[in-house]
């Protein structure tokens, strides 16, 4: 399979009062075309930073980030992003938020409305299509942000803890929907999560990161077939994988001192 997203020896440092803070320390990772990769790791290990580089919002300090073999020079609608902070436009209704990206695509008005409607329905917000973000709960805002990214139908989905604020039931529904559209539309997905269960359930590979300095600790293959089903969550193999990821995240060896 072709490589879709490629991080090569990526370094990101931020200047601090006393020296520099290394947010990402020589991170290399290849994500194949149409692959579903989840990223887990302790808070502050650089997950969002890594993803922002693929989105074209943060430049690597050293190394390079390639999408389709070309260096990323900025954001583009073929790479959809769902932000950890939702980032809804507060002056637009749910529908207008979802249509924001579609309006930039030169679609006929009818097609635009249809696609927005579909995305809103997919996340279960149809009854709130004309509501302003300030009237939505955290989970509803998150679903609106998801719909906005889904609507433009990007080849690559970069999702930063997109289901973090959702209740368990909605979360499972959206996980299954995501897998469903992913297998139909053949997208590449990079999905950040804190939830080990979610990481294993969704991914073909789980990337476990470590903090201080931010780096890749381990990449764990998930050899469960798609489509994933609810029964699989209860299988011994799933349990074993979950333990492995859990262990890799929460029993990390101390940081290797720089040579």
């Amino acid at each position: 399979m072709n490589t879709k997203i490629s991080f090569r020896d990526v370094v990101k440092t931020y200047p601090m009062k006393d020296g520099v803070f290394t947010a990402l320390d020589h991170v290399s990772l290849d994500i194949a075309d149409r692959e579903f990769v989840t990223v887990v790791g302790p808070s502050g290990c650089g997950k969002s930073t890594l993803m922002s580089m693929a989105a074209g919002l943060v430049e690597p300090g050293a190394g390079e980030v390639l999408v389709d073999g070309r260096p990323v020079t900025g954001p583009g609608p073929e790479r959809g992003v769902i932000f950890q902070q939702y980032a809804l436009f507060p002056w637009l209704t749910v529908r207008k938020n979802v249509e924001f990206g579609l309006k930039l695509m030169d679609l006929p008005a009818e097609e635009r409305r249809r696609r927005a409607e579909h995305a809103i329905e997919l996340v279960g917000l149809s009854d709130f299509a004309d509501a302003l973000p300030k009237t939505l709960s955290g989970g509803m805002k998150q679903r609106c942000a998801i719909a906005r990214a889904y609507a433009v139908n990007p080849q690559v989905l970069l999702m930063d803890e997109p289901f973090g604020a959702l209740d368990a039931l909605t979360r499972v529904q959206l996980q299954d929907q995501l897998l469903d559209t992913w297998s139909k539309e053949q997208r590449t997905v990079m999905f950040i999560t804190h939830d080990v269960d979610e990481a294993v359930y969704l991914a073909r590979r789980v990337v476990v990161m470590a903090a201080r300095p931010g780096r890749i600790q381990q990449v764990i293959d998930v050899d469960l077939p798609y489509p994933r089903t609810e029964e699989m969550r209860l299988s011994p193999e799933f349990g074993r994988l979950r333990n492995e990821v859990w262990h890799a995240v929460y029993h990390q060896p101390p940081a290797v001192p720089a040579a």
Binding site: G76, V81, F83, F89, P90, G101, K134
Partner: protein
């Protein structure tokens, strides 16, 4: 006139807005306070304070001034100056504020001037304005314009600078160009700041009025009060003061109303 010594931030504007929907109890209290104030004033005027007119005398004087057309004409002259200065000021302040917030080059070039002139009270410009522009309408409107411009430009600029970066990023990843981001994200996101800036600007413009009308005016509320002062005509001075207060309040409420309509989407915490 607290309504005119404006508010610095949208959060304060929000607090003011909450006050607008106040319950009947608060309104009753307001009314009681006004009546009590009038009573105290009447007492002071009848019991002792030299030359102080009673509210009734002031009302009578107001009636005369309205009847002979002086007050409406003065008010109109003052309003025309203030509105002209204010409109020109904000009309220039909004694009300049946007330029400064959006382009680092523009900021670097303009900021020294804006920051410097902000520290000079607009009234201090009057002597210079008279020398350069004579004693016609121009220097008066110019001083008011300057007051409105300087307070609006800073809050517009601040509004643009403070636009949430994640909103800009959200637009960028959806494929928005710089122009689209400016029109569809920066402008709406900074609207609350601009409107607060306009209210501050209007307050500043109105506050500069009387002094500006000291520049050899032939009509206007400030001019009329200046004249009355020469003749110890306290009633007319009171009429002028009250007219300035009422008109200022009305204009402020009008802007507040517009602000509420335009920024209803804001989260209120």
């Amino acid at each position: 006139m607290t309504q005119l010594t404006a508010v610095g931030k949208p959060s304060e504007a929000r607090a003011a807005r909450r006050g607008a929907g106040r319950p009947r109890r608060a309104l009753t209290l307001n009314l009681i306070a006004v009546v009590a104030g009038l009573v105290v004033w009447t007492l002071l005027a009848t019991v002792g304070v030299q030359g102080l007119p009673t509210p009734l005398a002031v009302a009578a004087r107001a009636g005369e001034l309205i009847a002979d057309g002086t007050l409406p004409l003065d008010a109109l002259a003052s309003l025309r100056r203030v509105l002209l200065g204010f409109l020109l000021g904000t009309l220039l302040a909004v694009p300049i504020g946007f330029l400064m917030g959006w382009y680092a080059t523009a900021r670097g070039l303009l900021e020294p001037y804006v920051q410097f002139f902000r520290t000079i009270p607009p009234l201090a410009i009057i002597p210079l304005a008279i020398v350069l522009m004579g004693i016609g309408e121009v220097p008066k409107v110019f001083v008011i314009f300057l007051a409105a411009f300087l307070s609006s430009v800073v809050s517009t600029f601040q509004g643009v600078v403070d636009v949430d970066k994640t909103l800009i990023n959200a637009a960028r990843v959806l494929g928005a160009s710089d122009r689209t981001i400016f029109a569809k994200v920066v402008v709406p996101a900074s609207t609350p700041f601009i409107l607060v800036g306009m209210r501050v600007g209007l307050g500043a413009a109105w506050g500069t009025l009387v002094a500006a009308e000291l520049i050899a005016a032939q009509e206007g509320l400030g001019f009329r009060m200046q004249q009355a002062q020469l003749y110890y005509d306290l009633s007319t001075i009171f009429v002028g003061l009250i007219a300035i207060g009422v008109l200022g309040l009305l204009m402020d409420r009008l802007l507040l109303f517009a602000e509420r309509r335009l920024t209803d989407w804001q989260e209120r915490r």
